[in-house]
């Protein structure tokens, strides 16, 4: 089981790095697009779509890493008023609920991806890349997210501590 936990957490971290690289790529491509379009007056073909899909991929694939580092914003209203034991039970219940939600999304995301893959769908733009490439982020990101939730639930059941988010105030910038 320890191997499973370590494996999933490493996978989540790798996902985080990939998401960060996607965002970096997106910002470079946006700049490139602006330069090409406004400075040289050349029509852009692939940039808009690439940037949109890169941000979607960063979001979906980055989500297990953000879960691992406790970065998803929560409203801890009920846990605040509960004593230790019911709070633990509520945390478990909430995690199972979230696991279910993620698992359904991962599964339906997989079938959407699979359909695009087998039917050979492409996007409707001039560039028209195969749609399965951006859609791959659905099963991968949400699949790892479901795995990360499995680890969280396992840790809650066995009473192991969950990883805490880094407490740097300049990073605590939620909207």
């Amino acid at each position: 089981m320890n191997l499973f936990i370590r494996g999933v957490e490493t996978l989540s971290r790798a996902c985080g790095v990939f998401a960060a690289l996607c965002l970096a790529a997106a910002s470079f491509v946006v700049c490139h697009m602006v330069l090409v379009r406004y400075a040289f007056g050349i029509a852009t073909i692939w940039q808009t779509e690439f940037v949109t899909f890169a941000v979607v991929a960063a979001t979906l694939i980055g989500s297990p890493y953000v879960l691992l580092t406790r970065g998803h914003v929560t409203v801890d209203l009920l846990p605040h008023y509960l004593s230790e034991k019911p709070r633990h039970r509520l945390a478990l219940l909430a995690s199972i609920c979230a696991w279910l939600a993620c698992a359904v999304l991962a599964w339906t995301g997989w079938s959407f991806f699979y359909e695009a893959w087998t039917e050979g769908w492409a996007t409707e733009s001039v560039w028209g890349p195969p749609l399965w490439i951006p859609l791959l982020a659905l099963p991968v990101g949400l699949g790892v997210l479901t795995l990360q939730y499995t680890v969280d639930i396992f840790k809650l059941v066995t009473g192991r501590p969950l990883e805490h988010r880094p407490t740097n105030p300049s990073n605590g910038s939620k909207i």
Partner: protein, 435 residues
């Protein structure tokens, strides 16, 4: 079961599920999937993956991670400290001058970042210890920064305005402009109160302070000037319709990272990586809520909740100002519990037809809505800014921070009242620019 009754069930379930401490994004997905499965059959879930994806795949949304990266770059640098230091050298003779400098720095920083807690952290890190060192009461020091930080989502660029623009189909450039004057109004109200508070406590700032000559006054300002020029550039291209928000934000983010690297010598890969990873964490968190909200609002409209609520409120034919008061109260309560992005995404599609039918301006309403959300950021139980301040000055304690923030809450309510009597505060500038 009538859609209104189902709607009530959904509202109660959502509140309970979200209050359990489940991440907001997954809580919204769970509620949406649950109600779809119950009322539309389990097979209706098959398109949920597709809906989540298409909720995210929108080029305008690209502006959100870009504006976040822009704010993260500036927040990681000492620019916040420079900003308020520069203002302090100009304002140190005024009673409560340092508090006003901090508020001004918050307002300007808000223009560099679309996020409120980020603004709070960037200015508060330097500002709060400095104010307390110079003898300002702890309530004033912490409360003013908590309140000043909320300006982040009102003064452009603002992530919540982008989300509002996308979910209501309004122009983001116009929304940004609509936030400028109300932002300045709130800054002025906050400053006036801080001055009064300092004066009432018999606190004379700057008595033992040295004088600054013009050169010293300009020196620190020069370092923050490039950032202000970037923001001015972004607003200019947006208003001119030259570029889309995503393009402006992408270039702005890149320029801000370059400026931070050059001016503050932060070019080690380690520091740049830290900026990238903190913006990734924050954008993923917000974008997941956006995807989840897409699913949630699909569920609402699929079960005819959105349409029925709007129709039955219209059928009530109540006075438009009473209606507005009720909407404000609803937003205020929702804002107490939920992050602004989630409130806007869930409420805007329902409220927009009602507000338009009552004859209110959608851009004016965006400003009123945003100020409501700002109040939620400095009130318990989920006032994010309060926790950021608590992290910066742990010895003050939340009750004192809260007491310090309370007058500013009242000032924001006053701001909303002023906007109701003088809607031109929000509509004049956009009308002037866009006609």
């Amino acid at each position: 079961m009538s859609p209104l009754v189902i709607g009530l069930f959904i509202a109660i379930t959502t509140v309970v599920v979200l209050a359990s401490g489940i991440p907001v994004a997954f809580g919204l997905v769970a509620v949406a999937l649950g109600f779809l499965a119950i009322f539309d059959g389990i097979e209706s879930l098959t398109i949920s993956g597709e809906l989540f994806f298409s909720g995210l795949a929108d080029f305008t949304l690209v502006s959100i991670p870009m504006f976040i990266a822009m704010g993260a770059a500036v927040a990681a640098s000492p620019a916040g400290g420079d900003l308020y230091g520069a203002l302090d050298r100009w304002l140190h003779r005024v009673p409560g001058g340092l508090a006003i400098s901090n508020l001004g720095a918050c307002a300007i920083f808000a223009a560099l970042s679309g996020s409120s807690p980020a603004t709070c952290a960037a200015i508060g890190k330097m500002g709060i210890p400095e104010m307390r060192k110079r003898g300002y009461p702890a309530e004033l020091a912490t409360g003013s920064i908590a309140a000043g930080g909320t300006l982040g989502i009102l003064i452009p660029p603002s992530v919540t305005m982008i989300v509002y623009g996308i979910s209501t189909g309004t122009s983001i450039g116009r929304l940004f402009i609509a936030g400028i004057l109300p932002g300045i109004m709130l800054t002025a109200l906050f400053s006036a109160w801080s001055m009064f508070h300092a004066w009432k406590d018999g606190f004379q700032a700057g008595q033992e302070r040295q004088e600054f000559n013009l050169r010293q006054k300009l020196e620190q300002a020069a370092r923050v000037l490039p950032f202000l020029l970037i923001v001015a550039g972004i607003l200019f291209v947006l208003y001119g319709g030259v570029a889309t928000p995503s393009e402006a934000a992408g270039v702005g983010a890149m320029l801000c990272v370059l400026m931070v690297a050059v001016i503050y010598r932060m070019w080690s890969p380690r520091k740049l990586w830290r900026i990238l990873s903190s913006s990734t964490r924050e954008s993923v968190m917000i974008m997941m809520i956006i995807g989840a909200a897409a699913l949630f609002s699909y569920m609402l409209s699929n079960l005819f909740i959105t349409q029925s609520v709007a129709a039955s409120i219209a059928a009530l034919e109540i006075n438009r100002w009473l209606l507005l008061a009720m909407i404000n109260l609803f937003l205020l309560v929702a804002g107490f519990f939920l992050p602004p992005v989630a409130v806007i995404l869930m409420a805007a599609p329902i409220l927009m037809p009602i507000v338009l039918q009552a004859g209110f301006d959608p851009y004016w309403f965006a400003v009123v809505l945003t100020i409501n959300m700002e109040i939620g950021l400095i009130t318990p139980p989920v006032g994010l800014n309060l926790y950021v301040i608590d992290g910066i000055a742990p010895d003050v304690g939340l009750p004192k921070i809260l007491r310090g923030a309370l007058p500013y809450v009242l000032l924001m309510v006053l701001g909303i009242v002023l906007l109701c009597f003088f809607p031109q505060i929000a509509t004049w500038l956009p009308d002037l620019v866009f006609g």
